[in-house]
């Protein structure tokens, strides 16, 4: 036996929770927490300023703040307020950038954060990069190893930490690659807990998760923080998730040239929220109970009992007529999926890929929004990419109606076949536009201006639409900037604008509101209702109930991976408070 397998080591090690008060040896069940009490850390910032090399304005300006040991604090602020920079500085990972400018003082337990490694644990947003090693137990042990914890104690800590975050039922050699996003974040938390830090920092820990994953991670954080007594600092856009779990809310103001940022508001959650609801909402913070105002639909089709559902209605017949002028009127069928099965794998000669989702029917109509919802792993994005003509369906078919595939001389479009996946790029782009979840994946040039002009140039069209879009999506002042240097909200607006520059009749968006602040959210939703009124069909893959409600239209709910066949189509009720309204549609055609 050359390498003591992690399984064996754990078995040989002391019982989990041996160090817990009361010594609940080996008896830890899910929900019960054994984390050892730690000495909580204290954070003090005195006029602290940080300016990244080559930037005009400080990322964090003149921050004065004191966090008592054991306090649990939610940090809010609009994008650009330097929340992440603050957390990275506290974690001592801000980099040894010689040209960055630091002013004032930032201290953890009275000393430089950089010298306090091991006292501080940091969890970031992207689950993929929170995992370091291939086996579950090894990954949790990594931090403790780096802190030179004795071997026997490491496995004790690993077991206890995995139990605490609810992953104790998995074997220690479980492959980390097969964990879900929520599980990966809980694994990262376990790795942090195994270091027994006095300060736990969470940088938007749930931004990339579905609603179930959000609660799973939040509950694990709250449970373990309470048990260990560590100081907790959370940065999040969505206040509602955390407000009841923290002692205090701190709102940062954005630092800009000539105006230091610093703390805007600071106090107990209820006080801050009661006193500054309006202010927070204006700053782009998601405040519980406040849905940002969205421009309403003007000509939304009445879905309940609308003629769209009646087979043989004039609207349905019209789909088969050759179509040749302008945008099709609202309600026209543009694109449909028939018993579609989807997979990201490509079919090979020897075998067809196993679909992640089968038997999906859907209709995309002009001027109508379709929201595709369902838990992570249900195949929503894969379905959207298939509908968009980017992936071939594994089974069933995706069909473009004549209104979409037909010739349109006014837009310079020639007639094409009914299968979007077979279209050439220049036929696809002006018909179906797809906005990917990560805007950077779609950047193909080096300036915002070239990004916006890319599609019109390729299609041999004028550039009038470019200026209009730049104006409408507030990109005019950024025209010469490199797309990769924009903020998250700006990148999102640009990625929508570049796709719309080709004037597609169907717009497909994959999680367009992920990680966006309330301001960008409202702008995006309002812009989409305008597009809908103009007759564009909007399909969005989203977990965001408010977003779905703002756009109206229909909802396609995909099941869990365990029951993928459950497909449920119904109109979105705009006035309902029911979070997941579903009204089965009589005869879906």
């Amino acid at each position: 036996m050359a390498t003591a397998g992690p399984r064996g080591a754990a078995r040989g090690g002391a019982a989990p929770g041996g160090a817990a008060p009361g010594g609940a040896a080996g008896q830890v069940r899910a929900g019960r927490v054994s984390a050892s009490r730690v000495r909580p850390a204290e954070v003090v910032a005195e006029g602290w300023t940080w300016q990244h090399a080559g930037r005009d304005a400080p990322a964090v300006g003149d921050l004065t703040l004191r966090i008592e040991p054991g306090e649990r604090v939610l940090v809010l602020g609009p994008s650009g307020a330097g929340k992440s920079t603050f957390l990275h500085a506290l974690a001592g990972v801000l980099g040894d950038d010689d040209e960055a400018h630091e002013g004032g003082r930032l201290a953890v337990d009275g000393g430089q954060p950089r010298e306090r490694r091991g006292r501080v644990g940091l969890m970031q947003q992207d689950p993929e990069t929170q995992v370091i090693l291939g086996r579950l137990g090894d990954d949790v042990a990594f931090g403790a190893e780096n802190l030179a914890v004795p071997r026997e104690e490491i496995w004790e800590r690993v077991r206890a930490a995995l139990d605490d975050v609810g992953l104790g039922h998995l074997p220690l050699d479980h492959p980390t690659a097969s964990l879900s996003g929520g599980q990966k974040q809980r694994l990262a938390l376990a790795g942090i807990l195994a270091m027994r830090p006095g300060l736990i920092l969470l940088d938007e820990p749930t931004a990339n998760l579905d609603p179930a994953g959000v609660l799973e991670v939040r509950d694990a954080v709250v449970r373990t923080a309470a048990a260990s007594g560590a100081t907790l600092v959370v940065v999040e856009h969505r206040v509602a998730v955390w407000r009841d779990c923290v002692d205090r809310i701190v709102v940062l103001a954005p630092g800009s040239a000539g105006h230091a940022g610093g703390v805007l508001l600071d106090g107990a959650p209820d006080d801050v929220l009661a006193g500054a609801r309006e202010l927070l909402a204006r700053a782009g913070v998601w405040v519980p109970g406040v849905v940002p105002a969205v421009r309403p639909r003007r000509n939304a089709p009445n879905l309940a009992g609308s003629p769209l559902n009646d087979a043989g209605s004039p609207l349905n017949d019209a789909g088969s007529r050759p179509y040749d002028a302008g945008s099709p009127p609202a309600g026209h069928l543009l694109l449909s999926a028939h018993r579609v099965g989807v997979s990201r794998e490509r079919a090979t000669r020897r075998r067809a890929p196993v679909p992640v989702l089968t038997g999906v029917d859907a209709e995309v109509r002009a001027g109508e929004a379709l929201a595709v919802t369902g838990p992570n792993g249900a195949g929503k994005s894969t379905f959207a990419l298939t509908l968009a003509g980017l992936l071939a369906p594994v089974e069933g078919r995706v069909e473009a109606a004549a209104a979409l595939a037909g010739a349109d001389p006014s837009a310079g479009l020639r007639a094409v076949g009914p299968v979007p996946h077979a279209w050439r790029a220049e036929d696809l782009v002006p018909r179906i536009g797809t906005v990917f979840q990560e805007p950077e994946h779609q950047f193909v040039t080096s300036t915002v201006r070239d990004e916006l002009r890319f599609a019109p140039r390729q299609l041999g069209r004028g550039l009038g639409r470019v200026d209009e879009l730049a104006e409408r999506l507030r990109l005019v002042h950024l025209m010469d900037a490199n797309p990769y240097t924009l903020s998250g909200g700006e990148k999102r607006r640009l990625s929508v604008a570049t796709v719309l520059a080709a004037s597609p009749r169907v717009l497909i968006l994959d999680e367009p509101t992920f990680g966006q602040d309330a301001t960008t959210w409202a702008e995006l939703a309002s812009f989409l209702t305008e597009l809908l009124d103009e007759g564009t069909a909007v399909v969005s893959v989203t977990h965001d109930v408010e977003f779905t409600r703002a756009l109206g239209g229909r909802r396609l709910a995909l099941g869990s991976p365990a029951a993928p066949a459950i497909v449920d189509v119904g109109p979105v009720r705009s006035t309902s408070t029911d979070p997941q309204p579903t009204i089965p549609r009589g005869e879906a055609t």
Binding site: T3, F142, P150, Q442
Partner: protein, 265 residues
Amino acid sequence: MRDLLAIRDNDSLLARANPLSKLAAVVLPTFALALSIDWVSAGVALALCLAVFPLAGMTFRLLWQRGWPLILAAAVGGLSTAAVGQDSGAVLLATPLWDVTEGSLGVGAAMALRGLAIALPALLMMSCTDPTDLADALAQRARLPHRFVLGTLAALRLVGLMVEQWQILGLARRARGVGAQGGPLHRLRALLGQSFGLLVQSIRLASRLAVTMEARGFGGAERTWARPSRFSALDAGVLAGGVLLAAASVGAAVAAGTWNVVWMQ
């Protein structure tokens, strides 16, 4: 990435040996084989290697799944050597451009066998070795710097993510109208653009991972190891096996008179 090479839940005999002794047992015959191009030494090494397969939990099916590019490369190398290699002996196949003779066919076969005999033991070793255990052994036993070893190990995990990113980038760019259409120059430009996109994404992933590792205290001078890397009697056996394999193949070739050291031709 780990599933690309290591067999999951492999509980064979060799899976329990220390990765370092396995590495030594692979490197030794490889050096011996690199000395000579002849089909006897390569053939004996290959045959012995195939005989060890069950000890590593390897099957021919798994071998083909993981090793087909190497096997094809060896075959192509052998065939082309047979075609263009130095001719001697009877002409077996004559074409206007090249001849296959007894001599060139022999050299070609030796080349193909040698390629396989060098590649398969390495493949065999990786199939019964978890990368984490290899890193443990390299850092704890071979005393390589742990920062370097663990950094490489973490980066290895990103390779799998890169494959995924490449596919998404391809789709995302087609959605912008940049596709695999048009002439070769057009395609080449599209490919370069996609590669640049992948480069940017891999730098982002890597820097986020680096922050994660740094925040877990990585980079300090002192470090303990949760998994001790130990040697046992099994490792003596593995090492002896490697020596035996090298000795048998060289001995057989010398005895058969085919031993033919590369630089002494």
